[in-house]
Symmetry: C2
Subunit: 220 residues, 2 copies
């Protein structure tokens, strides 16, 4: 198997790996180095614990923690290691494609294409077998074609809800966002867990009761 057609990615190339590093390990380490950039991709949501926006690496860690705590609420049996792998990997494409805010429909339009190209580029750093395995996990997550993917996606939708609720609004205060739109964007939680969707709806309704998310668009 030749890897000569796939050069070291630009970021990881800044400090080359030592001579004599076995080829397979070199590619794997270059991937591990390249993805350090996920810590630099900022999301819209402010943290609970500090007055700054969350980054994708922190967010992905929080989802993994949530999987460990909340997996028992999955309506269908899930293989936890696959759910964990999906949440750890799910945002890596944003290193090249950037974060697309949930409530930004314009940016959402070409998001799929941008992220697909980013996935081609990023996962190609890995040895072929891992490239294919990671890409398949990411595709599965995006397409929600398994119980694991549905549960991983539910965590991805529930976590910012917890941040918004704990921040008494957060990105719920984005102009134009309404309770109905939040409910619509979050309804995929119900495809994974009736109990967590019940809880999520209670959070959103309580937020609306308290004026943290508008019942209707005041500009409409």
């Amino acid at each position: 198997m030749s890897h000569h057609d796939r050069p070291t990615p630009e970021f990881a190339a800044a400090v080359p790996q030592p001579d004599g590093t076995p080829e397979r390990l070199r590619r794997q380490i270059e991937f591990v180095v390249e993805v350090d950039q996920l810590k630099n991709v900022l999301r819209q949501s402010p943290l609970l614990a500090a007055d700054r926006r969350e980054n994708d690496a922190e967010h992905s860690w929080h989802l993994a923690l949530m999987v460990l705590v909340l997996a028992e609420y999955a309506d269908e049996p899930v293989d936890v290691v696959r759910v964990l792998a999906m949440v750890v990997l799910h945002d890596l494409v944003e290193i090249y494609a950037g974060d697309t805010p949930l409530y930004d429909s314009a940016a959402g339009a070409d998001q799929e294409e941008r992220e697909r190209l980013a996935a081609d580029r990023l996962f190609a750093i890995l040895p072929d077998d891992q490239r294919d395995r990671f890409r398949a996990l990411w595709d599965e997550f995006e397409e929600r074609t398994s119980a694991e993917a549905r549960f991983a996606k539910a965590m991805d939708r529930l976590q910012p809800l917890l941040l918004n609720y704990g921040n008494r609004g957060g990105t719920w205060r984005t102009p134009g966002v309404t309770e109905a739109e939040v409910l619509a964007r979050k309804s995929v939680i119900g495809d994974a867990s009736a109990e967590l969707w019940d809880y999520a709806r209670t959070l959103i309704r309580t937020g609306a009761d308290r004026g943290w998310v508008p019942r209707a668009d005041p500009g409409a």
Copy 2:
């Protein structure tokens, strides 16, 4: 089972969960909210991708990613889901106990006791069964009593090595640190994987060759 003796932790109590949230779920969500503070615990290591120090949440995510990429190098078979759980949980105690830098022997002296008390307090937020399961995983990681724990610890030691190497020094430049001390502190990698320990030693030796870590303490 009564939970009335265990109140909502202070941080999570700032915005109480909605009335009617089932008791078990309420405790789990309070834990998920409480641990948002891990994003605020700063480590010594600077990131590769930005000119700032890494936080524990980002670090924990990076370890999880490394487990997915590098598990094949474990010398003994490992149950990947248990390794992932350990790296996701391993630094949570630092929310209450703070980060203890690897090259700070004074802070290291009472570290064990402080972290044990922090674990008592933090994991008690969870329902009893999860409290016991998470605590057992953390104890196992700390004591390195299984192949999973040894591999998780190896990732925890290898990751900052990658950051230091990529930063042409990083915390290797802490006064008093020498190549021999770095080798000693990192040798646990060899308990998990001969191949990764071989690679780690090459990184350290290359760092010393290039003057990123002193061969001997210039003050000695």
